[in-house]
């Protein structure tokens, strides 16, 4: 399983903040996970935004980062704290 998390505007657009995605061998990177979600249809295209940020196990990373069964993966828009 991959523990998916969505935040802020992405959570609003997708209508969910978290879900469990069954893991399989074709999910090698965060990019693969993102592509799997994009294939679900229109609302999910928000994850195609060029400025999308992502984290693996609560550490910022990029879409080329490898993913493993049991990981926590988060997708979110650019951060705006401070």
């Amino acid at each position: 399983m991959i523990d998916l998390q969505f935040f802020a505007r992405y959570r609003d657009v997708l209508g969910c903040g978290a879900e469990q995605l069954p893991w399989d061998d074709s999910l090698r990177t965060l990019g693969d996970v993102r592509d799997r979600l994009l294939s679900r249809g229109e609302a999910w295209q928000v994850l195609a935004e060029p400025r999308l940020m992502c984290a693996r196990n609560q550490t910022l990373c990029d879409l080329a980062t490898p993913v493993a069964d049991g990981d926590e993966v988060a997708f979110f828009p650019p951060v705006t704290g401070g």
Binding site: A8, Q58, A74, P77, V79, T80, G81, G82
Partner: protein, 156 residues
């Protein structure tokens, strides 16, 4: 270092005084406070909701402070950031840096704020007369990082 993510408000003056009380040998304390503005992007703002990524937020802030501590010799660093519902005029964030000399304290404080704004998982949603809207990230905040990436300074 002290890292706090909290809903409660805070007294910036008390935090600044506490930094010196905790480290009386320090020669310089630089404090930065960010506040909720009542106006943004041409519209009045009546309130703000701050969301974050619990667990990752604290780790991201600690990582930023650790990076600052490798670049400058610092006595103490305190980062406090609020989450939840805030009103115009309320303080959002405090960054306090204590060091032997002002230059290191000023630079480290700026470095921490630059990275906090672009790497720590917080998101602002404003209440305006047109309704609620998520605040867009500014390209200028991302560009501010280049000054640090171009110059790897040794602790001073």
């Amino acid at each position: 270092m002290r890292i706090c993510v909290q809903t409660d408000s805070f007294d910036p003056g008390a935090l600044l005084n506490q930094m010196h009380a905790d480290y009386r040998g320090t020669g310089a304390v630089v404090g930065f406070v960010g506040y909720v503005r009542d106006f943004n992007d041409g519209d009045p703002v009546s309130g703000m909701w701050l969301e974050h990524y619990p667990g990752m937020t604290e780790k991201a802030l600690a990582d930023i402070v650790e990076q600052a501590q490798t670049r400058w010799l610092l006595h103490e660093v305190h980062v406090l950031h609020r989450v939840g519902q805030l009103e115009p005029g309320e303080p959002i964030v405090f960054v306090g840096v204590a060091s032997a000399h002002r230059q290191a304290a000023f630079e480290a404080n700026t470095f921490i704020m630059d990275y906090l704004k672009t790497r720590a998982p917080f998101w602002k949603r404003e209440s305006t007369p047109q309704g609620e809207r998520w605040v867009d990230a500014k390209h200028s905040d991302e560009q501010a990082l280049t000054r640090w990436q171009a110059s790897e300074s040794k602790p001073s």
